[in-house]
Amino acid sequence: MAEALILDAEAVNALAHPLDRKVLAARASAVLSHALERRALVRVPVPVLAEVCRGTRYDSAVNHLLNNPGVGVCDLNRIIAQQAGHILARAKLSSAHAVDAFVVATALQFDAAVIATGDPADIRRLAAPFGRIGILAL
């Protein structure tokens, strides 16, 4: 199975609006470049879209990013959703962190993954038991 770079909401926003978020976008660009070198897939878990889509005018930049054939959207399915619930329970976090848990559960669908995130504390806590997930704080 493949390796993947998983983008959370902050990473998607940084890549979609690089001039508004220059520092974050530069870091996201670096990890994207390294992902290409490693032949890793680039994926956005579908629940992240609920955090970044805010109306037609704002969405055009996000849609431009997601229409790139290199950026795939990972659908949510029963396995990932149930795994996300287990991850939340293990980390003793409430469902207020459900999207973060979906991000971690999506990363677990790959042999190895890095999550590029603007919220490293919560993602680290959720991903702590899983050695095959790395975290890149943007």
Partner: protein, 75 residues
């Protein structure tokens, strides 16, 4: 529902064709080629995205690239 298949006729180096046939057999050839094409299309997309970002931000710094490299789990 799967999409209708398109037939393609392509030319590849003979040694490469033999190596792939040996690996996947003649029945697995279409699936292998489709996966390879999809993967290359994705990589090309990332190259385009990186080009757009570089135009706006410049090339990634060595420090950011080093951080990115270190973030990957050891295997």
């Amino acid at each position: 529902m799967s999409q209708p298949a398109a037939k393609l006729s392509v030319s590849v180096p003979g040694e490469l064709a033999s190596a792939v046939r040996k690996r996947v057999g003649s029945r697995g050839l279409s699936g292998f080629v489709a996966r390879a094409m999809a993967h290359e299309l994705e990589r090309e997309g990332i190259r385009v995205l990186l080009g757009e970002l570089e135009q706006k931000l410049g090339a990634p710094s060595k420090a950011d690239l080093a951080r990115a490299r270190k973030a990957w789990p050891k295997r």
